[in-house]
């Protein structure tokens, strides 16, 4: 069970004088029990790529297979695909529109053709899952805090019970507490539902902590993919792509430059501490 992108490319305004390549041919697999982080500078093609994953963008060349089926085949039910591969846009809280949080979260499952009762059941489960208790159900989405709105919007996609959840910069604009809560909940979701998560992020710290695999995009090309450890070893490649190292990892690089015998291979504060203590012992 997975989502497979094979030699996909994307050209904007193809056949016009404005023709512009958004993505050069690339292949990538999303397994449905892993966290894949997509990183890259603004304009590197991240959003174009993830909007292909649920069939919103049709690749100019190449094919996309979900569970072995070509999602752009003539008879393929892309509407159903979109409930199985759920996409949460950037700043999704701007898309809340209903009178109450519960109604808003129900919108997706109702559109899937579920009964009122089933839709409400799923909406409630999705709300609890992201930490929105019963007393949020009848509140207006516009009275919630930034972090709560973001979670309500994510619940709206979760209520469709997707197998793969794609999030475009889920923590942008959230305060540290909101960020922490959201990331913890995403990890729990993945564990309990065996759900695949694709996450676009500009925070190297979040990526180092969350991802099983990282895909690095640069100028519309897939520059590299690998585990966080493999990727964050490639400092020069990352800088070239307009990215950076997580802070803990960067400090180790600084120490090494200053002549300390430290390993630079650390993804968290805890690992960096061990490396530094080892140099001092």
């Amino acid at each position: 069970m997975s989502l497979l992108l094979q030699n996909v490319s994307y050209v904007y305004e193809q056949g016009t004088p404005m023709e512009n390549t958004g993505l050069h041919p690339l292949s990538l697999e999303v397994k449905d029990d892993e966290v894949l982080a997509v990183i890259g500078a603004t304009g590197s093609g991240k959003s174009t790529l993830i909007q292909m994953m649920n069939g919103l963008n049709k690749p100019s060349t190449g094919n996309i297979y979900y569970n072995g089926e070509d999602i752009f085949a003539e008879k393929y039910d892309r509407r159903r695909l979109r409930s199985q591969v759920g996409l949460v846009f950037q700043y999704p809280e701007y898309q809340l529109f209903e009178e109450t949080v519960l109604k808003d979260v129900c919108f997706g499952p109702k559109n899937q053709g579920l009964s009122e009762e089933e839709a409400i059941g799923r909406a409630r489960r999705a709300m609890r899952r992201v930490g929105l208790t019963e007393d949020y159900e009848e509140r207006s989405p516009f009275d919630l805090s930034g972090g709560e709105k973001r979670r309500a919007a994510i619940a709206g996609v979760l209520a469709m019970e997707p197998k793969i959840l794609i999030l475009d910069e889920p923590t942008a604009g959230l305060d540290p507490e909101g960020r922490e809560e959201l990331l913890t909940e995403l990890l729990a979701l993945r564990r309990e539902r065996q759900m695949g998560i694709v996450m676009v992020s500009h925070s190297m710290e979040d990526v180092a902590r969350m991802a099983d695999r990282i895909a690095v995009l640069s100028h519309g090309k897939l520059l590299m993919q690998g585990t966080p450890r493999e990727i964050f070893r490639e400092e020069s490649g990352l800088l070239e792509a307009g990215l950076a190292l997580p802070a803990a990892c960067h400090i180790l690089h600084l120490l090494k430059e200053k002549g300390l015998p430290v390993g630079t291979d650390a993804l968290s504060v805890e690992e960096a501490k061990e490396k530094i203590l080892a140099a001092f012992s």
């Binding site: 009848e138 305060d175 307009g242 001092f280």
Partner: protein, 291 residues
């Protein structure tokens, strides 16, 4: 001399909730009194909904206090006759670069503010040149803004504010939507404006590493000012910060963990370079002692 001063600044608004007959009064800011000296670089932190943006909007008269007073230099923000003087003294850069750019050519966008203020044409061009140079975007004067990266657009927005010759610029989460390089570009620009041009900076952010670059940090919670001090003094109060929904930068967390493991590092270290330097010095001394 202070450039901004507030006295018992309070802001409340009416909120109508579903199912309730009566409106409720919400307190967004409660009795804030503080002053900002010329040339300071201040970071303002606080969780979502703590009142940071509401405060920022009071500092250039986008909002007026329900009670209390805000002064920008000697001007009261409630003095309508001085509105344009206030806004050109204290400029503001917002979060989304795409919402702040109005023209189709970079230099025209930067000239928009001074033109509206009635600055003579000759001088507009001088200001545009100087502002674009100050943010490192002079080479893009004839470019179309939509072709620029997020960090570049944000620097054009900053140049647009600069062209109005402000003494103070308020950045309301201006780096939130940028990639790591874009954030670095904008922060470097902010620091240079502060250090070289002497512009007073108020930077609202959720990134603790950005706050670590400031000379002073102010922390808001539920509409009140709850902490005010240097980054070192603030970031050495980790528990209090966490209770306010904030964190210490990763650098501070690492330094704290190392200190708890017995390395004698100073408290509240919050910049990567500083931590690396202290560790290198400590390592050098240990090696010498062993030799």
């Amino acid at each position: 001399m202070s450039i901004i001063r507030t006295e018992e600044l309070t802001y409340q608004y009416k909120s109508y909730e579903e199912g309730q007959e009566q409106e409720t009064l919400k307190q967004a800011l409660q009795g804030l009194s503080f002053s900002v000296e010329k040339g300071e670089f201040i970071a303002i932190l606080g969780r979502n909904g703590s009142g940071k943006s509401t405060l920022a909007k009071h500092l250039n008269a986008l909002l007026l206090p329900s009670e209390g007073t805000v002064w920008v230099e000697e001007m009261k923000t409630s003095d309508e006759a001085r509105l344009w003087d206030i806004r050109s003294t204290a400029g503001m850069v917002f979060q989304n670069p795409d919402n702040q750019i109005v023209a189709t050519v970079v230099e025209e966008d930067v000239g928009f503010g001074p033109e509206n203020m009635g600055v003579p044409t000759e001088e507009i061009w001088e200001r545009v040149d100087k502002s674009l140079k100050a943010v490192g975007m002079a080479a893009y004067a004839k470019s179309a803004p939509h072709r620029l990266s997020g960090g570049q657009k944000q620097r054009v927005a900053i140049a647009g504010v600069m062209a109005m010759k402000p003494k103070c610029i308020i950045f309301d989460e201006s780096t939130a939507m940028l990639d790591p390089i874009g954030r670095r570009e904008v922060l470097r620009t902010v620091r240079e404006l502060n250090e070289k041009e002497g512009i007073t900076v108020l930077l609202i952010t959720h990134y603790m590493e950005e706050a670590a670059l400031a000379g002073r940090i102010m922390i808001m919670d539920r509409g009140r000012l709850v902490m005010d001090g240097t980054p070192r003094s603030i970031f050495s109060r980790r528990q209090e910060l966490e209770a306010l929904g904030l964190q210490v930068p990763q650098t501070t967390a690492l330094a704290d963990a190392l200190r708890e493991s017995g390395l004698p590092l100073s408290e509240g270290i919050c910049q990567e370079e500083d931590l690396a330097e202290e560790l290198a010095a400590l390592y050098g001394r240990r090696k010498e002692a062993q030799a």
